[in-house]
C-alpha cells in the first residue's frame, strides 16, 4: 500500500516538473492528458508498482532532479546528424553511471529535431538520435530493458526562436528518468 502511495507521489512530482520543462514527458498539454505523461508512457511496457529511492530533491545524488541538473539529462546533435560528440559521450558516461547506481529507475530517451525539416522525416531523425544515446548507454553497461526510446520530431522545441542558437538546443536526446522497476 505504502509503496503505491510513494510511487504515485513520485510520478506526480515528475509530472509537475514537466509543466515547467515542456520537453519532458511530451509537454504540458500532452502530459496532462495522457493521464500524466510519465505514467502513460512508462505504462506501455514497464511495471510501475515498485519504487526504490525515497529521497527527492536536487541535493540528493540519487534523485532524478540531481540526474537532470547535475549529471545532465541531454545531449545535442549537429544539423541532420545523430553522431555523438565527445561532449555528448561524456554526459552519457555520467548518465550510465547514475543509472547503474540507481537500478530502480527506468529511462525514456526522447529524440528531438529542430524545425528546419519536414515533419515525418524529423520523427525518424529523432528516433535515430534517441537510439544513438540508448546504444551508447547500453555499451556502458545499462541493461537494454531499462531504456526505451521515443521521438517527438520537431513537435516539442525547448527553444522557440528561429535561429541557429535555438535550433542547436532543440536537436537533442533527453534522458527522462521515471519511477518503475523491472518486472
Amino acid at each position: 500500500m505504502n509503496k503505491y502511495l510513494t510511487a504515485s507521489i513520485l510520478v506526480g512530482a515528475l509530472a509537475l516538473s514537466a509543466c515547467t520543462r515542456p520537453d519532458r514527458f511530451g509537454g504540458g498539454a500532452g502530459a496532462g492528458a495522457d493521464g500524466m505523461g510519465a505514467g502513460a508512457g512508462m505504462g506501455a511496457g514497464f511495471d510501475q508498482s515498485a519504487i526504490g529511492q525515497g529521497g527527492l530533491g536536487a541535493g540528493n545524488p540519487n534523485s532524478p532532479e540531481y540526474f537532470a541538473q547535475s549529471i545532465g539529462d541531454r545531449v545535442l546533435f549537429a544539423v541532420d546528424q545523430s553522431t555523438l560528440s565527445s561532449e555528448a559521450m561524456a554526459t552519457l558516461d555520467g548518465q550510465a553511471q547514475w543509472l547503474m547506481t540507481n537500478t530502480d529507475y527506468l529511462a525514456v530517451i526522447e529524440g528531438h529535431a529542430d524545425e528546419q525539416g519536414t515533419r515525418e522525416y524529423n520523427v525518424a531523425l529523432g528516433a535515430r538520435r534517441a537510439n544513438a544515446a540508448r546504444e551508447y548507454l547500453i555499451s556502458r553497461g545499462v541493461p537494454a530493458s531499462r531504456l526505451r526510446t521515443i521521438s517527438y520530431g520537431k513537435e516539442r522545441p525547448v527553444a522557440t526562436c528561429s535561429d541557429p542558437s535555438c535550433y542547436a538546443q532543440n536537436r537533442r536526446a533527453v534522458t527522462v528518468i521515471a519511477a518503475g522497476a523491472l518486472s
Binding site: 515542456p22 520537453d23 511530451g26 509537454g27 504540458g28 498539454a29 500532452g30 496532462g32 492528458a33 495522457d34 505523461g37 502513460a40 508512457g41 512508462m42 505504462g43 506501455a44 541532420d80 545523430s82 524545425e115 528546419q116 525539416g117 519536414t118 515533419r119 515525418e120 522525416y121 520523427v123 525518424a124 531523425l125 528516433a127 535515430r128 538520435r129 534517441a130 537510439n131 544513438a132 546504444e135 526505451r148 526510446t149 521515443i150 521521438s151 517527438y152 520530431g153 513537435e155 516539442r156 522545441p157 525547448v158 527553444a159 522557440t160 526562436c161 528561429s162
Partner: protein
C-alpha cells in the same frame, strides 16, 4: 452531429422553354484550358438565385454567394458585380437577355432558383454561354436538406467549373487537418475537419495527446493519423461519421507513424522505427497481415501511392540526404527521381497520376514544388521560411500545404496554390493549423 444528413439528388431539369443545347457547339469561346495557365480570368455573372418559396430569400442569396466565391476563388474566373447588371432575369424560366450580358462583357451567365419546404432544399441552375447565346449543358437540380446548403452551392459551382474547364471540380470536398493552439514550446494539437474553403470546421479529437499528419481514406469515410495517445507514436484509424477511433496493430517496433491508405482503403502503408532505423511496411486492415516494403539502414518514410496503386513514391536519406524514390507497390528496388539542389521530402502523387508534389528544402528556404513522376520538369510553386506537406485537390489542379512563420510567436497556417504557382492564398482555419489532407469530391 458530424455527419450532415444530406441526400443529394442529381437530376436534369425538364427543360420547359429552353431546350438543352449540345455542349459541343459551345466549346469555342466559353472554355478555359487550365494547363495553359490562365492570365485573364473569365468574367461571369451570377444574378441572385430566385427564391421560389416564401422565406427562401436568404438561403438563395447565401447559396449564390457560395457559387460566386468558389468560382472566383480559383483565380480562373472573375465575378462581375451586380451593380453593373443592366437587367436581371424575372424568373428562372425567363428567356435570357443576351445583349444585356454581352454589353457588360459577361462570358458566362449562371442563373438559379431555390425552394425550401420544411427542411428540404432544392437548388436548380442553368449555365449560359453569353457570346454564342446558348445554354452550356443542361439545367441541373440538386435536392437535400437546408443544413447542407453550402454543399448545394459547391455542387452548382463544381458543375459550372467542370463544364467550362472540362475538368472535374473540387468545391464539394472536405479537408482533415491538425488544429494547433498554445505557445510554440507547448502546442496542443487536435484533428479538425472542414470544408475545402475553411467553413463548417469541427474537431475530430480532443487536444490531450499529440497528433500528426492525418490522411483521408479514398472515399473520405475514415482518417488515418499518428497519435501519441498511448505514450508512444502509434497509428490510429478514425471513423469520420461516428468519430470512433482505434489503434491499428502494426508490425512490432518502437514507433509507428506516417500512415496512408491503400487505393481500395483496405490497407495501411506506414513507417516503423526500430533501433533508430525507419522502414516502410504495409498492413491489411481486414486480415492484419503485414508485409515489409523497404529494408535499408536509412530513413524510409512518407509513402504515397500512385492513383493506379502500382507504385509508391517515398523519401529516403540512403544517399546521405533526403531524396525522393519510386518503387513497386509491393516493394522492390527503388529508383531515385530527385536530383536537384537541396533536400526533398513529403512526396504526394497527384490523383491524375501525372505529377508528384513535394517539399523542397534548399539554401535556408522551403518550397512546395511539382515534378513529373520520373523526376523531370521540376517546378517550384512557393517559397518561404517553412512550407511543407502538400496535399492534392481531388482534380489534381490545386495544392494545399502548411506554411509556418518564424520565431517564438510564429505558427502554421494552411495555404492553397494552383499547380502553375498562381492564386496563392490562406485557407481560413480560425487559428494555427497544419498538415492538411484533401479528401475526395463528396457523393
Amino acid at each position: 452531429m458530424l455527419t450532415r444528413t444530406i441526400a443529394l439528388l442529381l437530376a436534369p431539369l425538364v427543360a420547359a422553354t429552353v431546350l438543352p443545347a449540345p455542349v459541343t457547339a459551345q466549346s469555342g469561346p466559353l472554355r478555359i484550358t487550365i494547363s495553359e495557365g490562365v492570365i485573364e480570368p473569365l468574367p461571369f455573372a451570377v444574378p441572385g438565385f430566385q427564391a421560389e418559396t416564401a422565406g427562401a430569400e436568404q438561403i438563395a442569396a447565401d447559396i449564390t454567394r457560395v457559387v460566386a466565391q468558389d468560382l472566383s476563388g480559383t483565380g480562373l474566373f472573375r465575378e462581375i458585380p451586380a451593380s453593373s447588371f443592366i437587367s436581371t432575369p424575372a424568373s428562372f424560366a425567363s428567356p435570357v437577355a443576351y445583349p444585356d450580358w454581352r454589353a457588360i462583357n459577361a462570358q458566362a451567365l449562371i442563373t438559379g432558383a431555390v425552394a425550401v419546404n420544411g427542411d428540404q432544399l432544392t437548388v436548380k441552375f442553368r449555365l449560359y454561354d453569353v457570346f454564342t447565346g446558348a445554354e452550356l449543358g443542361e439545367g441541373l437540380q440538386f435536392a437535400g436538406t437546408t443544413g447542407g446548403w453550402r454543399r448545394m452551392g459547391h455542387k452548382v459551382a463544381d458543375a459550372v467549373y467542370s463544364r467550362i474547364t472540362g475538368e472535374s471540380g473540387y468545391f464539394d470536398s472536405r479537408v482533415v487537418f491538425v488544429s494547433e493552439s498554445g505557445p510554440k514550446d507547448n502546442r496542443a494539437r487536435r484533428l479538425g475537419i472542414m470544408d475545402y474553403d475553411g467553413e463548417n470546421r469541427q474537431f475530430l479529437t480532443d487536444s490531450n495527446s499529440l497528433v500528426l499528419a492525418p490522411r483521408f481514406s479514398p472515399n473520405g469515410d475514415r482518417v488515418l493519423y499518428t497519435s501519441y495517445e498511448s505514450g508512444f507514436p502509434r497509428i490510429n484509424l478514425l471513423d469520420v461519421a461516428s468519430v470512433g477511433r482505434r489503434q491499428i496493430t502494426t508490425v512490432e517496433g518502437e514507433m509507428a507513424f506516417s500512415p496512408r491508405f491503400s487505393k481500395d482503403g483496405g490497407a495501411v502503408i506506414y513507417s516503423v522505427s526500430t533501433g533508430g532505423n525507419t522502414d516502410i511496411y504495409r498492413t491489411e486492415l481486414g486480415s492484419g497481415s503485414h508485409s515489409r516494403l523497404t529494408s535499408a539502414p536509412s530513413i524510409e518514410t512518407s509513402p504515397s501511392l500512385s492513383p493506379d496503386g502500382s507504385q509508391i513514391v517515398f523519401e529516403s536519406d540512403r544517399s546521405g540526404t533526403q531524396q525522393l524514390y519510386v518503387m513497386p507497390a509491393s516493394g522492390g528496388e527503388p529508383r531515385r527521381i530527385s536530383f536537384g539542389e537541396g533536400r526533398y521530402g513529403s512526396p504526394v502523387w497527384s490523383p491524375r497520376g501525372d505529377l508528384i508534389a513535394f517539399t523542397k528544402q534548399n539554401a535556408g528556404r522551403f518550397h512546395i514544388g511539382v515534378m513529373r513522376t520520373d523526376g523531370s520538369e521540376e517546378r517550384l510553386l512557393t517559397s518561404s521560411f517553412l512550407d511543407e506537406s502538400p496535399t492534392w485537390a481531388p482534380n489534381g489542379r490545386v495544392l494545399m500545404f502548411t506554411r509556418e512563420t518564424q520565431g517564438a510567436s510564429g505558427g502554421p497556417q494552411i495555404y492553397s496554390v494552383d499547380i502553375s504557382g498562381r492564386n496563392l492564398k490562406q485557407v481560413p482555419t480560425g487559428g494555427f493549423a497544419s498538415d492538411p489532407s484533401w479528401g475526395p469530391l463528396q457523393q
